[in-house]
């Protein structure tokens, strides 16, 4: 007998998601222990980073249906803010990443202010243009070393500075925490009023308005959270790699790479970004390793073919293979 006033389906699904999330977290904590190979460990670090980044993208692009092709902007703002604060003022990146995340969230609001008045394709194109403009500006901005980039100086092994002589294993846990927190944020907002409003806005903004959903503020909230998560990821990346330049932190290909795991894994789903990153990032990295990234571009061709194959076989995303409810898929592709 069902207790009046509760739905077992939604509550049970959300509880199950938490349990699966906790099990995955434990598995990922233990995962590097049997793996001695530094290259493989590095692969997992990147996968976790992109799982978190794409989870952030998914909040705006997936749940709310505002396809952004400029998320590298928020990544770059996070990376540069943290790097500049650290190299110029000595602010520890554990603080700098929040500064970067907040600035990135503000930037997302700034982009959203004019652009959310555009619909469909026009929003995506506007974010693309904004992202590429930012790349050009930073390439010519001497204060942040223009196209030369910034090298993060190594001072000492330190968790507060996120600097390690051998970085791969500590960063496994840093990126795992990042991906886990991004996942948890997505889980929380998915079950909240914002989450419902975002999905309503994506499905039918007119109907949403008739139910007192304030469409523009809803999109702005999604943008701010999305930008924040992406910005924090940028800051962590800059500490992990130790060097940032405009092309690697603000380029269009990065914007695409942030969006792809969510798209391939399942747009607007909780597990999509994680699943997509777990498939895409290893394939991308391994094809670079085996075929070389210099010039011939075969790795990109393989990557592209994989995406086309996945899109044809599973337009709802990989999550649909697991029997997990996929909320959007086709609809987002159509409304984009």
């Amino acid at each position: 007998m069902r207790r009046p006033g509760t739905s077992n389906v939604i509550i049970r699904r959300r509880r199950r998601e938490l349990v699966v999330g906790a099990i995955l977290l434990v598995l990922f904590v233990l995962l590097p222990l049997p793996i001695g190979n530094t290259y493989l460990r590095g692969l997992i670090v990147l996968t976790l980073l992109y799982a978190g980044l794409s989870q952030g993208w998914n909040i705006l692009g997936g749940y709310c249906g505002q396809i952004s092709l400029g998320h590298a902007l928020y990544f770059g703002i996070g990376a540069y803010t943290s790097a500049m604060l650290f190299t110029v003022l000595g602010v520890p990146p554990t603080l700098g990443m929040f500064a970067g995340g907040i600035l990135a969230g503000l930037a997302a609001l700034l982009v959203g202010w004019p652009c959310f008045r555009l619909s469909g394709h026009y929003y995506a194109i506007a974010t693309l243009v904004v992202g590429m403009t930012a790349l050009l500006l930073v390439q010519n901005w001497d204060f942040v070393n223009a196209a030369m980039g910034i090298t993060i100086p190594f001072r000492a092994d330190s968790w507060s500075d996120l600097e390690f002589r051998v970085a791969v294993l500590p960063f496994h846990y840093v990126m795992l925490a990042y991906a886990a927190v991004a996942w948890l944020i997505a889980w929380v907002v998915e079950g909240s009023r914002w989450g419902f409003y975002w999905r309503a806005v994506k499905d039918d903004a007119t109907a949403a308005r008739s139910l007192a959903v304030r469409v523009f503020p809803s999109k702005m909230a999604a943008a701010a959270i999305s930008g924040f998560i992406t910005g924090v990821g940028g800051a962590l990346y800059s500490q992990y790699v130790g060097f940032i330049d405009p092309d690697s932190t603000l380029g269009l290909s990065l914007s695409v790479l942030i969006a792809l795991p969510a798209v391939v894994g399942g747009v607007g789903t909780l597990w999509g970004p994680l699943l997509g990153a777990a498939v895409l990032i290893p394939v991308q990295q391994l094809s670079i390793a085996w075929l070389g990234s210099a010039g011939n571009g075969i790795d990109l061709m393989i990557y592209g073919m994989l995406i086309i194959a996945l899109a044809l076989a599973r337009p709802q995303g990989l999550v649909s293979l697991l029997g997990v409810r996929s909320q959007a898929g086709g609809e987002v592709a159509e409304s984009a």
């Binding site: 006033g5 939604i10 999905r199 039918d204 007119t206 308005r209 008739s210 139910l211 007192a212």
Partner: protein, 242 residues
């Protein structure tokens, strides 16, 4: 009217050179079921959209409980107590029935738990109890109409605007739909229904406002309306006037 919950005062609305509504005035009494009827192109939908806040009238005022609501926009109108359905159903198709209705419930509560409790109550009231966890796109057409009503009811309206809710249903489905409308009214919600098929509405409504070519043609009891030569002329043409 002594106890008017909604007052439409000289409302005019044009789209380009087309005058959709011209100087329309009428009241809606608290607790009644009012039919807004007229042949195609009479201006029902544009008046409906003005009341729901989706459009702003060019001239005139619409007052809810004496408070001006025209031009406030759909969000404010819903907050103030106007619920609406759409002629062409607009369900959130990636969401379940329960989730659809919860979106409406969030107009009054912040916490998901409370929204869920409220939504489940409304879903049961609308006869969709067994369908709460079904995706909205999997519903049958009459179920989708019910979902529209449930979603709007979840916002706790004082007036519910129903846009051609009964059109296109089979007689049995229409009967069930009419019972739902009566049940909603019994909850204390005033109802304004737009229909262009008059005979479906007659047994249901307390009063009718007939629009024709953008103007108010007649207002009165449904029995009087069907006998009125002007109304018959508007609907059927000159040769049917007895």
């Amino acid at each position: 009217m002594p106890d008017a919950i909604l007052q439409v005062r000289s409302v005019s609305k044009s789209f380009g050179s087309v005058a959709a509504n011209v100087e329309i005035t009428f009241d809606v009494a608290r607790g009644e079921i009012l039919g807004l009827i007229g042949p195609n192109g009479a201006g029902k939908s544009s008046l409906f959209n003005s009341i729901a806040g989706a459009d702003t009238p060019d001239k005139g005022d619409i007052l809810l409980e004496g408070r001006r609501i025209s031009g406030l926009g759909p969000v404010a109108c819903t907050r103030l107590g106007i619920g609406r359905t759409f002629q062409v159903v607009r369900s959130f198709d990636s969401m379940t029935v329960l989730e659809n209705v919860m979106v409406g419930a969030f107009a009054r509560v912040t916490r998901a738990r409370h929204a869920m409790a409220r939504a489940l109550e409304v879903i049961e009231f609308c006869g969709l109890a067994g369908r709460a966890d079904v995706p909205a796109h999997a519903l049958t057409p009459p179920e989708k109409r019910r979902l529209e009503v449930a979603r709007a009811l979840a916002t706790q309206p004082r007036i519910l605007l129903l846009d051609e809710m009964l059109t296109g249903l089979t007689p049995t489905e229409a009967q069930a739909g009419m019972q739902l409308v009566r049940d909603v009214r019994a909850r204390g919600v005033t109802i304004v229904m737009v229909e262009h098929v008059m005979e479906v509405l007659l047994p249901l409504i307390d009063r009718a406002v007939v629009l024709h070519l953008g103007r108010k043609l007649r207002e009165g009891s449904p029995q009087d309306m069907v006998r009125d030569p002007e109304v018959i002329r508007a609907y059927l043409g000159e040769r049917y006037v007895a």
